[in-house]
């Protein structure tokens, strides 16, 4: 198996840098061969740019993939949106000779060429398949005795025909990665439902988008959990910053801490909440931090 290159995307480095730090700390601690994918751009985001124009969406995605091909490394994504764009574009360009030729025509102008010899991975499916919950458990220094609401997010699982990660209705692999850290993954209604951010809806139809987030948050609140754990910084932003936006509009206060999986994993591996940037969220909850640190 090839080594990995870490694709950052936009939201992680430019809005939630704690997730970038958490990812790097965890990969190093678990001795996973992963280097930075230097010079990468926006994936580009599937909800907006794929909606606007296929050729530019494919060309930019192809360039990001090519940067990793040139290092002979598979791409590791930590965002469902980046995963959606890069995995879909990689598959399309490998299988469709016409689109591949057209895209390579654009890439030739910058002296690059898509070859189609690497894979695109998402950190959740990578950790589950290539490392496995048992091995992840072996790295734990601080077992987490907390109740977690897992939010898979849509594009990690779907389209399921392409993702090949099993049932999109009742997936389990992410829950297993939570439970191997000592935490309890709590079932709740509409667990696999969308956070409302994708498809360009959060950017252009904020009110509509927040109604979906509010529904999701109310279901989670009822489940009596300590935090939400997600696999995507865009879901993360919607469920974290969205809580404040909902409070301003409706007065409803959820006050639920939101963690990217790499931040939860980082806590279990013994890193401090500050090192993992958990305090950089919009929603800050000292009670949660205290509970984790005092266990």
């Amino acid at each position: 198996m090839k080594g990995l290159s870490l694709f950052l995307g936009c939201v992680v480095p430019n809005r939630y840098p704690g997730i970038e730090m958490a990812t790097k700390l965890c990969l190093a601690k678990m001795d996973i061969d992963c280097v930075e994918l230097k010079g990468a751009s926006c994936c580009p985001a599937p909800g907006v740019f794929r909606s606007f124009d296929t050729s530019s969406w494919l060309a930019l995605a192809a360039r990001n993939i090519v940067l990793s091909e040139e290092m002979d490394r598979d791409i590791l994504t930590i965002c469902n949106g980046c995963f959606s764009t890069l995995a879909d574009a990689n598959r399309i360009l490998k299988n469709d000779p016409v689109l591949r030729e057209q895209t390579n025509g654009h890439l030739a102008k910058i002296g690059r060429e898509f070859r189609g010899n690497i894979e695109v991975r998402h950190i959740i499916e990578y950790l589950h398949k290539e490392v496995g919950p048992d091995k992840v458990r072996s790295f734990i220094e601080r077992p987490l005795n907390i109740r977690v609401a897992v939010h898979y997010g849509c594009h990690l699982l779907k389209p399921s025909r392409e993702r090949e990660l099993g049932s999109f209705e009742r997936p389990e692999f992410f829950d297993e990665l939570i439970e191997c850290l000592g935490a309890t993954s709590v079932d709740y209604p509409d667990k696999t439902e969308c956070c409302g951010a994708g498809g360009g809806v959060r950017s252009a139809q904020r009110e509509d988008s927040l109604r979906l987030a509010q529904h999701k948050l109310s279901r989670i609140k009822d489940a009596n959990i300590d935090c939400i754990v997600n696999a995507c910084p865009f879901c993360h932003m919607q469920l974290d910053a969205g809580q404040e936006e909902i409070r301003q509009r409706t007065g409803i206060i959820y006050n639920i801490p939101v963690l990217h999986y790499t931040q939860l994993l980082g806590l279990a591996l013994g890193f401090s909440p500050d090192m993992l940037g958990i305090n950089l969220n919009v929603i800050k909850d000292n009670k949660f931090i205290g509970k984790v640190e005092n266990e």
Binding site: E20, G39, P44, L280
Partner: protein, 176 residues
């Protein structure tokens, strides 16, 4: 929004060709019943699928932009219609006809300027340093030559003219 008249036969033909799969639809409503956006917004995905290959009016339908692309409808469609792919096709045709929401134009301009749809800001530069990361991420933000490549690609694909096109279409409409 600009007019895309149903009497534009060439556009209608392209629409029919791109969305011909939707003619398999039996209007069972599994898509709407599975649609999280439809629970909370005006989106009626079953209706959009019905309109898709039949009228160019669908390109002006605001509901087109309320889909979060969660894929529930596509996963559950008993006729195996790739509904989200249809939505993406319709959106792209709309954009090429000059129909783009203002916020989406802004995001596109950010991509052209910075190579990131969400560029860095002062607050996050500080946070990055405090975390022990480089102040600028090692992306196009850090490497100007890479940003140049991204811009060249976007221009090679005509992405910039899509935004100009919007300006033109809006101007046309205003003079009507």
């Amino acid at each position: 929004m600009p007019e895309t008249s149903s009497s534009d036969p060439e556009l209608l033909n392209r629409l029919k060709a791109a969305c011909k799969d939707t003619l398999k639809c039996m209007q069972c409503g599994v898509c709407s019943g599975s649609c999280p956006s439809g629970r909370h917004t005006a989106l009626n995905i079953r209706r959009l699928v019905r309109k898709a290959a039949r009228t160019t009016d669908v390109l002006k339908d605001e509901q087109l932009w309320m889909c979060t692309t969660c894929y529930n409808c596509q996963e559950r469609c008993p006729r195996d219609i790739d509904i989200v792919d249809v939505v993406l096709t319709l959106r792209s045709m709309a954009v090429h006809e000059g129909i783009m929401l203002a916020e989406h134009t802004k995001v596109s301009e950010l991509l052209l300027e910075y190579g990131h749809a969400v560029p860095i800001d002062e607050e996050r530069r500080k946070q990055r340093v405090e975390l022990g990361l480089e102040e600028m991420p090692l992306t196009v933000h850090k490497y100007p030559d890479d940003l140049k490549e991204v811009r060249s690609l976007l221009i090679s694909c005509g992405f910039d003219s899509l935004l100009d096109n919007k300006g033109k279409r809006n101007a046309e409409k205003e003079t009507i």
